[in-house]
Amino acid sequence: MTMIYTRDYEIEKEDFVAAGEVSARIKNKLKQLGVAPALIRKIAIASYEAEINMIIHSYGGHMQLDIDEDSIKITCADTGPGIPDIDLAMQEGYSTASDTVREMGFGAGMGLPNMSKNSDNMHIESSPAGTTVTLKFQM
């Protein structure tokens, strides 16, 4: 498979001012590459949810965008503290977000379910050493 584009972005813990910048950059890149608008929207939503999740819940980490001829992959890898119960976290409405986060308009417990809905495949691996969420989209 020929890789068309690959890029790594850093995500900092609790950086709410920058929240969304990485996803906006990913969205613009996909636009430049001429990806279909309906697919871009799905990727942007999943990516933004993932980015916000990392900022709210993790110690920080990286998001990597990999684009090849027929698919787009976003890998979100943080350095902890891990998701204790993934099945519970996948339930719509379940959230461990603080009141401060809710006042900012997030923490409705829709992040992971919405990432799953907007991607063709989502894989989560988690331990106290870190969580990796892989999102795949078919062109």
Binding site: F16, V17, A19, G20, S23, A24, K27, P37, R41, A44, I45, S47, Y48, E49, R102, M104, G105, F106, G107, A108, G109, M110, G111, P113, N114, K117
Partner: protein, 117 residues
């Protein structure tokens, strides 16, 4: 419905994007939780909210929402307005509360922006 007609119906002021007042709006979403907006809104929607932080603009950007209407007399700070202008969005502000705003738009033919509506 054009943004300019929405502004007239709600006595709303343009905070930015008055040159884009012909933008067409098909449906609407009223929410203060951006998580809900990300989960449910269709495209070509107007977002009605009482939240005035940068996340509202970011969420609208991700969702391709061209117009945001701030309700209950809420006004975002100038840096938030600038952020919206850079993204070529229309920002409106009305003193009317959320319920009244939704009612007026619904009565005038704007439908919900949730999936399944």
């Amino acid at each position: 419905m054009k943004v300019t007609e929405i502004a007239k119906l709600l006595d709303a002021e343009f905070l930015c994007g008055d040159s884009r007042q012909d933008t067409e709006i098909l449906c609407a979403c009223g929410a203060d939780m951006m998580s809900d907006v990300l989960a449910f809104t269709k495209h070509d929607a107007i977002l009605m909210t009482g939240l005035v932080n940068n996340h509202v603009i970011r969420t609208a950007e991700m969702m391709d929402i061209p117009c945001i209407l701030f309700v209950r007399g809420k006004r975002p700070a100038q840096d938030i307005i600038d952020m919206a202008e850079e993204r070529e969005m229309v920002l409106l502000a009305t003193d009317k509360p959320m319920f009244t705003t939704c009612g007026i738009l619904y009565q005038n033919g704007i439908k919900g922006g949730m999936r399944g509506e």
